[in-house]
């Protein structure tokens, strides 16, 4: 049955594209682009099939389980080698499915956005598809080993995509990216090892079973202090990715220096891996400790919201505004987690998807504006709505989505995250709500100044969207509005998964 292999097919279908590209002569630029873009349709179509076949009444599904590596770990009584089997385990549930689908959608749209790329296209698209494998894998992996492998796999292509195809200071940005993420990975790895050596399993389901069930014989292996330490380590490791203040500066450089399609992917998907990991591994495995830590989650969330928002109001470069805006919006995810209730978790996951769509849309447009004007500095722009009414209109719509306008996805996510937190920490939540005002200030300042107002003479003749540009814009905006008007499309598949996380959490919450 297809269901037994669909996740693997999605995850590794970019490999096919990579192989084809390797055998395509690099002079055939048009062919390479076509293969590179059309190739992303494979995982997209399969992800849509997966979405269509997703069973709302079930939790984990599309499960794959195969023996993979056997590691010799010692001798048994008879003197023969014992092995620890590391299995290839994939599967998906309500929390990861939306993110997988998001990855597929953004994967295709950012590939379309790569149409403008000029240099070394073959390498570019090979790395691009390698990145896709890593992202799909992270959201499908069902054990720590596989998760870590895919998590690391995303770093390498981003490093090169950023370092080779980026803007002026690309190398510095790439190095900084690697340094931070390397440290994050090291911490993550140590935490994983610490979990593994105590519990002798890496499977997510088994780990959750052991860790959240006090009657389990293995459960006693981890003292509450040990667990707390692990949770904090995971929080830092994933926090670097998210990013949380003060580990965010690498991400600013990536946003400014990477080529637009890579920024789309980075901001829309890669940052989300941090939040996903925090939920899937951190909160899911250590609910008691997460609950204990939840005030800190809220505090870090608030710092992110306000720090990002205040800094976004004084930036000169649109890209920097969007980068700080991402920091601010990720703060809302932390608030949703801090709520430790189903509404908050739902808000957090909505925010991951919503911000993914919105930031991809906005970065795409900034790329187009750069393409036309050669700048993304706010003060050098202005009045481009005259000659680019379509792009400008979509930009404004995206900006309104970003500041949480009802009828679009951003509102639902922020509303749910705040609503969840009000149930747990009303004061923190009220402060978080005030952040919405700051968001309005920086979003409107940047977009209105860049797009409206008087038109300088050098910006009077800019071409509006080409068909290749219009497609991603319309699709992204369409999905943003769809989720805003009909949130059940995202919330219904989530319910069963929330059931599996929340009872555990609220069980101790009382």
């Amino acid at each position: 049955m297809v269901n037994n292999t669909l996740l693997s097919l999605i995850t590794f279908s970019p490999l096919l594209v990579i192989v084809v590209l390797m055998f395509t002569p690099k002079q055939m630029v048009g062919t390479i682009k076509t293969i590179g873009v059309l190739g992303t349709l494979l995982p997209l179509i399969m992800s849509l099939m997966l979405f269509a076949g997703f069973d709302y009444s079930a939790g984990l599904q599309f499960i794959e389980r195969r023996d993979w590596i056997k590691i010799p770990i010692g001798l048994d009584q008879n003197g023969s080698l014992t092995f620890f089997p590391i299995r290839y385990e994939m599967g998906i549930d309500g929390a990861s499915m939306p993110l997988l689908l998001l990855t597929a959608i953004i994967g295709t749209l950012a590939a379309v956005g790569s149409w403008q790329m000029k240099r070394r296209l073959r390498e570019y698209f090979i790395l691009y598809h390698l990145l896709l494998i890593g992202m799909f894998g992270v959201f499908s992996a069902q054990n720590l080993f596989l998760f870590f492998l895919f998590f690391e796999l995303t770093l390498i292509p981003v490093y090169f995509l950023l370092g080779i195809w980026g803007y002026a200071e690309r190398e510095r940005a790439a190095n900084k990216f690697l340094l931070y993420n390397g440290i994050g990975s090291a911490i993550l790895l140590l935490a994983f090892i610490a979990i593994f050596v105590q519990l002798q399993t890496v499977n997510f389901g088994e780990l959750q079973q052991v860790l959240t069930n006090p009657d389990d014989p293995l459960s006693g292996y981890l003292s509450p202090e040990y667990r707390y330490g692990l949770f904090v380590a995971l929080f830092i490791a994933f926090g670097i990715k998210l990013p949380i203040f003060p580990f965010h500066s690498w991400m600013l450089n990536v946003h400014v220096q990477a080529p637009p399609p890579v920024v789309m992917i980075h901001s829309a998907i890669l940052l989300k891996m941090g939040a996903y990991g925090l939920l899937r591994i951190g909160i899911n495995f250590f609910p008691d400790q997460a609950y204990e830590f939840s005030v800190w989650l809220a505090v870090f969330g608030l710092i992110n919201i306000f720090y990002g928002a205040v800094l976004a109001t004084v930036q000169k470069d649109l890209k920097m505004v969007l980068a700080y805006s991402s920091i601010s919006h990720m703060g809302m995810v932390l608030l949703g987690f801090a709520a430790m209730n189903s509404i908050g978790f739902q808000g957090a996951i909505f925010q991951l998807v919503s911000h993914g769509l919105i930031s991809a849309l906005l970065f795409f447009i900034v790329g187009v504006i750069w393409d036309r004007t050669g700048t993304s500095t706010i003060t050098e722009l202005g009045g481009i709505a005259k000659s680019m009414p379509f792009i400008s209109g979509v930009f404004l719509a995206g900006a309104l989505a970003s500041l949480g306008l009802p009828g679009m996805s951003g509102f639902i996510s922020e509303f749910l995250a705040l609503m969840g937190l009000f149930g747990a920490m009303p004061l923190h939540a009220a402060i978080g709500a005030i952040g919405l005002i700051f968001t309005t200030i920086y979003v409107l300042r940047a977009v209105l100044r860049a797009v409206y107002g008087p038109t300088p003479s050098r910006l009077t003749r800019l071409a509006d969207a080409q068909p290749m540009e219009a497609i991603p814009l319309v699709v992204l905006l369409g999905v943003i509005i769809l989720i805003g008007i009909y949130p059940a499309v995202l919330s219904d598949p989530l319910q069963k998964t929330l059931d599996s996380i929340v009872p555990v959490v609220t069980g101790i919450g009382g």
Binding site: G74, F84, Q200, V310, L311, V314, S342, L405, T440, P454
Partner: protein
Amino acid sequence: MDTILHYAWLIPLFPLFAFIVLVSFGRQLRGGASSVGILAAALSCVLALVIGWQSYQGAASEKVLVEWMNIRDTVIRVGYEINSLNAMMLVIISVVSLLVQIYSKEYMRDDERVPVYYQYLSLFAFSMMALVLSPNLLQLYIFWELVGVCSFLLIGYHFSKPKAMLAAKKAFIVTRIGDVGLLIAIILLFWWTGSFEYSEIFKTVALGKMEPWMTTLTAVLIFVGAVGKSGQFPLHTWLPDAMEGPTPVSALIHAATMVAAGVYLVAATYPLFLDSQTALDIVAYTGGFTAIFAALIGLTQTDIKRVLAYSTISQLGYMMLALGVAGAIGYTAGVFHLFTHAFFKALLFLAAGSVIHAVHTQDLFQMGGLLKKMPVTGIAFLIGCLAIAGIPPFSGYWSKEEIISAVYSAQRADLLWIAVITVFLTSFYMFRLFFLTFTGKAVSQAISRAKDPSAVMRIPLLVLAVLAVLSGFLNMPFAPLLENWQLAGDVGESIHFAMPEAAELHAPWLSVVSVLVSLAGIVLAYLIYVKKAIAATWIARPLPWLYRLSNRAFYLDEIYRYGLAVPLRGIGMLLDLFDHYLIGGLVQLAVKLANGLGGLHARLQSGQMQTYGLIVLLGIVLLLIGITTQGGVSFGQ
């Protein structure tokens, strides 16, 4: 009787449909765009009038809900509800919306972005109608924000003008401050009552299940939302600037409908306010203060639209004042004034629009003598002025009379003084406006060439003029039709329940006094601006600071700029340095350290990849060590 109330949901759908058509085919339609918008507005207007009539006849309220979203056990529903209050609102919105759209056909004729204009107007009409039809607070909030965005888009319609853009931005941000209050209130109410539905919330309140402090807190937070939307002090500063939008927009959004949404909100959640005297007092005093405060500013403005804007703020203050003093009469008076104000203020704005259209200036001192050139416009404007000044038998007389009577019945002397003084100020600045614009000598060529607009603009003016005269007869002390209509439902019951002893104190002398006070204002304006018997500067000269205070709107904009905006920017700059040098600097240090350790240069192909490789390798070694040492022991079993 088979009631047409079942079809109430169609009312907002006509303009929504027009919006979708205009977004999809606007460019192809060009001139036809206005027809699409007008047709849709006409259809909803007819339906709204029928439904309004049925509701007035006593058709039962109706509510329809469907599931929207589930969060485990929590079901969030959407739908619509029709009751006497929102039936009345629908009539106001659809009538004014239709008239404004017809008027705009001529007013915006030379604009190249007419399809966009009608897109926005249709979206606004849809959102505003859907707002009042909402059966729960969450849905209300959704449309509350959408009308705000439409307002933002239309204020900034002439986006090349920096002033328009800044005004649009300001409107959005300032109203958002209020919106956050409302949002918090909605969420708090949800956690206390388990629902967003009005009826459920009121039930919880009626059963006394809410802590009194929570009732007060949520009511006040809801009112904060209303303060932002309805331009109440201290969040009123966006409304005068919003006059940058096209004048028909000011008539529809910033006079008749959207700015009244705050008043509507307080009325719609009235049972909550009735449970908290503190909240009611805050409403009453904020309203009263805003009424007199805005009137004082209106005295010295020189832009025709800004005078009207401050008068709108002031009149909205009256409505809040009425709601705040409560009682059956206070509630009715507030809602009634909303009703009459919508028509006479829309009339004033559209008449002002005709003037601006003809003379291409908004400066009062560039006008004069227009009554002869534009008699229809002039008389329409005069009717509006008489109505707002509260001269019988014009509509404003009846509603304002009721407000003053409500304040008197509540025995609030301080508020009564404020209300009566504001009557004087209002009639003075409105007639100052009228005299400066329409009487005296023409001061420019544009004026001598000015003439009344064509029928397309005249007809809406005439209809509104008739309404500005007649709409007051709906609720006269001896024939309280509107009161009977509006208090027929649950709200009436909860008011009688909350304050059973509150009776109306009839004081015919009070009515005489307030009319005399109003006439005094008119006479004073006449003496100054027509007879010139009193110098216009008789206060300004000896007390220039007083004049400046009024003219500069008590420097509130400056206070906000230097008290909030500039410090925020300063903090932002400081944080930017902090972020760049300290946080970013730490990284530099770390990079240097890492490079130093490896003894390698920060080169793409060599250095960093190796460092990274080392980390991964180290990790894998650790992993293996972990597996073999720890795992080996317990895997023997």
